[in-house]
């Protein structure tokens, strides 16, 4: 382990809020500062600018709609309901690099491994790229679906761009030639809510959908290799007979191949393990939450952070010990972040949150 490695951690206020805040925590720096950025302070698009059809631009809020780190953690980008795309550099310290404007509200974004571009997926089904090396440059239209995009991902080598829409489709295109569709991963029966390329199995794609399944794909050929019926696996503990398991969050850890998911309206984190040789997902255990879970994120070393709607314990930290996940309470970072949230609970209370490690 690299002793000088920074642990980058941010809590971002997600949809439903009137102002947005990002917190960043770095350690083991001596100056354990929290970086706080209030999005409502960022410049807005000038009013009076008419949209393409001659109508005035509608007034949005400062809610953050999507955010992501670059794979190395050097950059962070977010997009909000006011159609702003804000880029931050995180090293040597957090600073805002640029504020640009997108055409339509976005649902997801991803930064290339080369850290030269941000790809943003929007509600009209389009993906635009925004340069990082030229942080003020306008966006460029890369590809489009007919229906609303819910998620966008890149293969680890940036070669493929994957897009998931509300009409059950996952499309795989060449990043350098996005008009060229390599394959479709067909099989989901409802909107595809989340997609994730497995970093240490770079031919595999994990997807989640409103059809209550998690699926593994060999995405270059579009072949489905495993389908996990969540209602069967997690079902026995369900409260309602026809409970839907719509995954709202997926996080993956290369260390151990763990997959953790959060489903809408279910206060439980389900943990699976990827068997890369057999190309199967194996259900391991669940972590019941006393309160609604907002978000989950694995850090590189394998610890799992959980953000929940609870003033007493807004942040939970879990660690795998002999294959069993146990809560950790004596972590300094955890205590510091929890204290900050508790001190400012009125700001956070009742709102939805996101987590990125």
């Amino acid at each position: 382990e690299n002793p000088t490695k920074q642990l980058l951690f941010s809590i971002v206020k997600a949809p439903g809020c009137s102002s947005a805040v990002i917190l960043g925590l770095f350690f083991p720096c001596s100056d354990e500062s929290l970086f706080v950025y209030d999005c409502s302070s960022a410049e807005k698009q000038p009013l009076g600018e008419k949209g393409q059809d001659g109508k005035g631009t509608d007034k949005g809020s400062d809610d953050i709609l999507a955010f992501a780190f670059s794979p190395s953690g050097d950059y962070f980008a977010l997009t909000d309901d006011n159609k702003r795309l804000i880029l931050f550099r995180t090293k040597p310290s957090w600073e805002c690099v640029s504020v640009r404007f997108v055409n339509r509200r976005c649902t997801s974004l991803v930064i290339t491994a080369a850290e030269d571009k941000i790809f943003v997926a929007d509600k009209s089904g389009d993906v635009y790229s925004y340069s990082i090396t030229e942080p003020q440059a306008d966006g460029k239209l890369e590809l489009g679906h007919v229906s609303l995009l819910l998620d966008v991902a890149l293969s680890a080598d940036d070669r493929y761009i994957l897009t998931a829409d509300r009409d059950e489709k996952i499309r795989v295109s060449l990043t350098k030639a996005p008009y060229s569709i390599v394959s479709y991963c067909m099989g989901h029966r409802e909107f595809v809510s989340k997609i994730l390329v497995i970093p240490n199995c770079p031919d595999l794609l994990l997807s989640a959908s409103g059809d209550s399944t998690l699926r593994l794909w060999e995405y270059k050929s579009g072949e489905e290799v495993h389908c996990c019926q969540l209602s069967t696996i997690c079902g026995p503990q369900a409260t309602k007979p026809d409970q839907k398991f719509t995954v709202s969050r997926i996080t993956y850890c290369c260390q151990g191949g763990y997959v953790a998911i959060l489903c809408d309206s279910i206060p439980t984190v389900y943990i699976f393990q990827l068997d890369a040789t057999a190309r199967q997902l194996v259900y391991k255990e669940q972590i019941s939450l006393k309160h609604k879970g907002w978000d989950i994120a694995f850090e590189e070393m394998g610890d799992l952070w959980i953000l929940q709607e609870d003033k007493e314990a807004p942040l939970l930290l879990y660690r795998a010990c002999d294959g069993q996940w146990k809560a950790v309470t004596d972590d300094k970072g955890l205590q510091k972040m929890s204290k900050y949230i508790q001190d400012n609970w009125t700001v956070f209370e009742g709102e939805k949150f996101g987590l990125k490690v």
Binding site: Q52, D53, S124, G125, D126, L141, L143, G144, H145, V146, S147, D157, D158, R159, D167, E168, K169, R171, S173, L174, T175, K176, A177, P178, Y179, S180, I181, S183, Y184, M186, G187, H188, R189, G222
Partner: protein, 252 residues
């Protein structure tokens, strides 16, 4: 299906299949479509091409021609006669129009056994469902005859030719495959020329090959829409585009 066949061996009459001309392709119509191409039961649509006693190991027949927005089936009937061994499917979004065309094909098959078994109409939304029905590089011909112009600027995203749709046509068409477009609306013709022209996967057929293209003279008049345009004195504009080879997989 069986009951329908019994009652409707007679040719259908349009007055029983009235429907508004414009349909919203972005709406969620209740349509049935396969989850994946391999789940589609083509044998039900083309029974004569899926004999139960086929030798094991023979590759199943596959659709090669698609008429996007087939309307009342005029092109399908012409394709059935000219390419009797090639499977052609018409996709039509409007329920009653699709039902009319299915009834029309049924009547033709009944009147001439052994003929018209290679064409069928499916009620589907081509803008959303192409990858559900067809595999990569499956098709050799795609037809866009008299597409709905959707004149208003706010409706342009309903147009069947757009950068998003061209990527999908590029996906289902094999390299060398052809797209035929015909319209009596000059602005729409320019729109299609521009979009196909700008798209790296397509090239316009050079004039020499265009002149030699046997289907082209037929297309403006073979459909209801084409005949209506001709009666009104509106000239048809045709174009043919070829699907170019795939770009080399980009180096990282």
């Amino acid at each position: 299906m069986a009951a329908e066949e019994e009652e409707a061996a007679a040719p259908p009459q349009k007055r029983f299949y009235r429907q508004r001309a414009h349909s919203n392709p972005l709406a969620d119509h209740t349509l049935s479509y396969p989850s994946r191409p391999q789940d589609m039961d083509w044998a039900a649509l083309f029974p004569s091409f899926f004999p139960p006693d086929a030798a094991p190991g023979t590759a199943p027949a596959r659709v090669e021609f698609v008429d996007v927005g087939c309307g009342y089936g005029g092109l399908l009937v012409a394709l059935a006669e000219r390419f009797p061994q090639t499977l052609a499917v018409g996709l039509e979004l409007r329920g009653k129009v699709a039902a009319f065309t299915r009834a029309r094909i049924r009547a033709l098959r009944a009147a001439r056994p052994g003929a018209y078994g290679n064409v069928a109409c499916v009620r589907a939304n081509a803008m959303k469902h192409l990858p559900h029905f067809f595999r990569r590089a499956q098709l050799s011909k795609l037809f866009l005859l008299f597409p709905d112009p959707h004149f208003k600027r706010t409706k342009h995203k309903w147009r069947i030719v757009s950068p998003a749709m061209l990527a999908e046509y590029g996906y289902v068409l094999r390299p060398g495959g052809l797209v035929y477009t015909v319209t009596d609306v000059p602005e729409l013709h320019q729109w299609m020329l521009r979009h196909f022209g700008e798209h790296p996967l397509f090239e316009a057929l050079p004039p020499a090959q265009l002149a030699a293209e046997p289907l082209l003279p037929l297309l403006p008049s073979v459909t209801e829409e084409g005949q209506r345009a001709r009666r009104a004195g509106r000239a048809p504009n045709s174009a043919v585009f070829r699907r170019r080879p795939d770009p080399p997989a980009a180096a990282p």
